[in-house]
Amino acid sequence: MTHETAWQQALRELGDVRKVEIIVGIPTFNNATTIEHVVKTVVAGLDKAFPHASVVIVNSDAGSRDATPEAVKQAVGERLPTVLVQHLATGLQPGPFSLHRLTESGVPGREEAFRVFFGITEELQAKACVVVDANVRSVTPDWMEFLLQPVLEKGADYVAPLFRRPRYEGSLTNSIVYPLNRALYGKRIRCQSGGGYGFSRRLASLYLSKDVWEEEAARFGIDTWLMSVAVAEGHEVCQASLGAKVHDSKLSVVDLSIVLAQAVGAVFHYMEQYQDVWEGRKGSSTVPLIGPPYEPGTETVPINVDRLVKGFRQGLRDLLSIWEIILAPETLADILPLGLVEVEEFRFPMSLWVQTVYDFALAYHEKVLHREHLLKSLTPLYLGRTASLVIETRQGGPQDVEAAIELLCETFESRKPYLIQRWRFQ
């Protein structure tokens, strides 16, 4: 189903509804096991925090075969107007050579769902739009207050989720997406993707006006670029502390390199779009936090460090000819000796990692290689850096991991002149 037909279907479903205050968007894809809990919790949260607000619930389904949309309708009942839109009817298997628009939530065509939510927000002149993923088991009624109140009462345009996650979870975000975005745009947003978001109508309209839905950017993960556009365009942003994140992830069927290419590709893509913005921004500042104070998770997930180091070593052995094209000679010269050390002694220094990421960004900009190949060839280096982080901090507490992430962010910020200089004059 194309965007046009999905949009016409949404308008038909809206019927007589002309104006509301809040749009609740729920993107789904085979979420029958969790959807009832999510919808009922959302409705309870709205009743509690905004009992008098006019609300429309929009379910944009990607072609579920387990009657998820019917479950949404049943869970909401007659309590609130509900719009059901089917926007895609393809499967979930990513091809080997293409960047599939498949994000952490596991919903294919996720950007199409967001496009429908933003379109309805604009159409009904809603003050705020909140999006809640259908696979999150840990959703609580408080989420509605935390995600909507900043938009409705404090003038915020974008409310990003902040979850308490087990140690080392989200290491791709913490190693690249968060530090790089923070160094570029000067806002300390943890860039966690999925779960729940809050948007103002102003920002929703901006997203709709952007040339991102069908062009090159659409190939990348929407969760990353929503944040990049909001901070780069100078909108009011804040974070909502949403507690622990327990969700049914479909990510196990997706190759890590595809996820990496989508998340990092989105940041690199917007570096080109917003060059004038990030070149001028120095340092970083915190953003308001809504909800309870953030605390790092104390749980630790099992991690096979040997496998991570093995992945790095194989990359060094087999992808050297590709890295020679991408990396600066001095960066590569520092990486080469890492292939010789024992696992317990393995360390991928932060400054070297920052230089590596900046070199990849420059190579992406210079188009020295097919961009998908370039992004995917970063995977073994990322595995090396992750292994190093685990080895360095596994004897310490959760605060040590947080300290390492903070230090990495500062290194990204302090090394930014290297990026600017080479970006301008290469």
């Binding site: 390199s257 996820v259 990496l260 992945g311 194989q314 992808l319 094209i325 020295v368 190949h373």
Partner: protein
């Protein structure tokens, strides 16, 4: 006797002079064509190099992986220089053939028409060759990265098999296009390709029977092999 001898001599001399007089302009035409070919070839090469530089052709070749492929084949020059040299020789040879045609020799009577008739095949074969090289390089690189990320130890072997498979297929198509030993090429390609597939099938059947069974079982039963539980994003 003396008169007959004298007449024969004069006649032979006259004939030779006449033949030389007739051949000299043709020789002159050949030389002119050769000089014109040199000038035109150099001019076309100069213009082409300028255009290729303006459109950053070398960077494009680098990005598409053509330059590294050429370097591996021993051609260290930039791709634009290669195209420039090729264009020079094509233009020069065209003029040279015109010159040879101007000599009006019985052995080269239909040379130009044969060459012009064959030219579309050469052009098509060149495009095929270029496309094949690009495809081989692109897919080999994609396979290498995918295999490394999947931590398959034989990543380079997989990439090389793909590269040489595509190159073999390209070579067969190019030779068929040029009409060189058509039947032999098709037969050789079919035998080689079929042989490789059969060898792989036998190797998998005998050597990797258990691995293949386990893989299929895992896939069919949707078993998840979790090396670690970490979510990266």
């Amino acid at each position: 006797m003396s008169e007959l001898w004298q007449e024969a001599m004069v006649e032979a001399f006259r004939e030779t002079t006449k033949r030389i007089a007739l051949f000299l302009p043709k020789l002159l035409a050949l030389l002119t064509f050769l000089i014109l070919g040199l000038v035109a070839g150099w001019f076309i090469k100069f213009i082409l190099l300028r255009i290729l530089k303006a459109v950053r052709f070398d960077l494009l070749c680098e990005r598409l992986g053509l330059a590294p492929a050429l370097a591996k084949a021993g051609m260290k020059q930039p791709a634009s220089h290669l195209v420039g040299r090729l264009s020079f020789w094509v233009v020069f040879l065209l003029f040279a053939f015109m010159g040879i045609d101007a000599l009006d020799l019985p052995a080269t009577a239909n040379l130009m028409s044969v060459i012009i008739g064959f030219l579309p095949h050469v052009l098509a074969a060149t495009v095929l060759l270029l496309f094949g090289l690009l495809m081989a390089n692109f897919f080999a690189e994609a396979a290498l990265i995918a295999a490394v990320n999947a931590q398959i130890q034989e990543a380079r072997l997989v990439a090389n098999l793909i590269r040489w498979g595509i190159l073999m297929f390209t070579a067969a198509m190019v030779l068929t296009q040029l009409g060189i030993a058509k039947e032999i090429v098709v037969a050789a390609f079919s035998i080689t390709f079929g042989g490789i597939v059969l060898a792989l099938a036998i190797a998998l059947g005998l050597g990797g029977r258990n691995i293949a069974r386990e893989m299929l079982e895992r896939r069919l039963q949707q078993k998840k092999v979790k090396e670690d539980e970490m979510s990266h994003i």
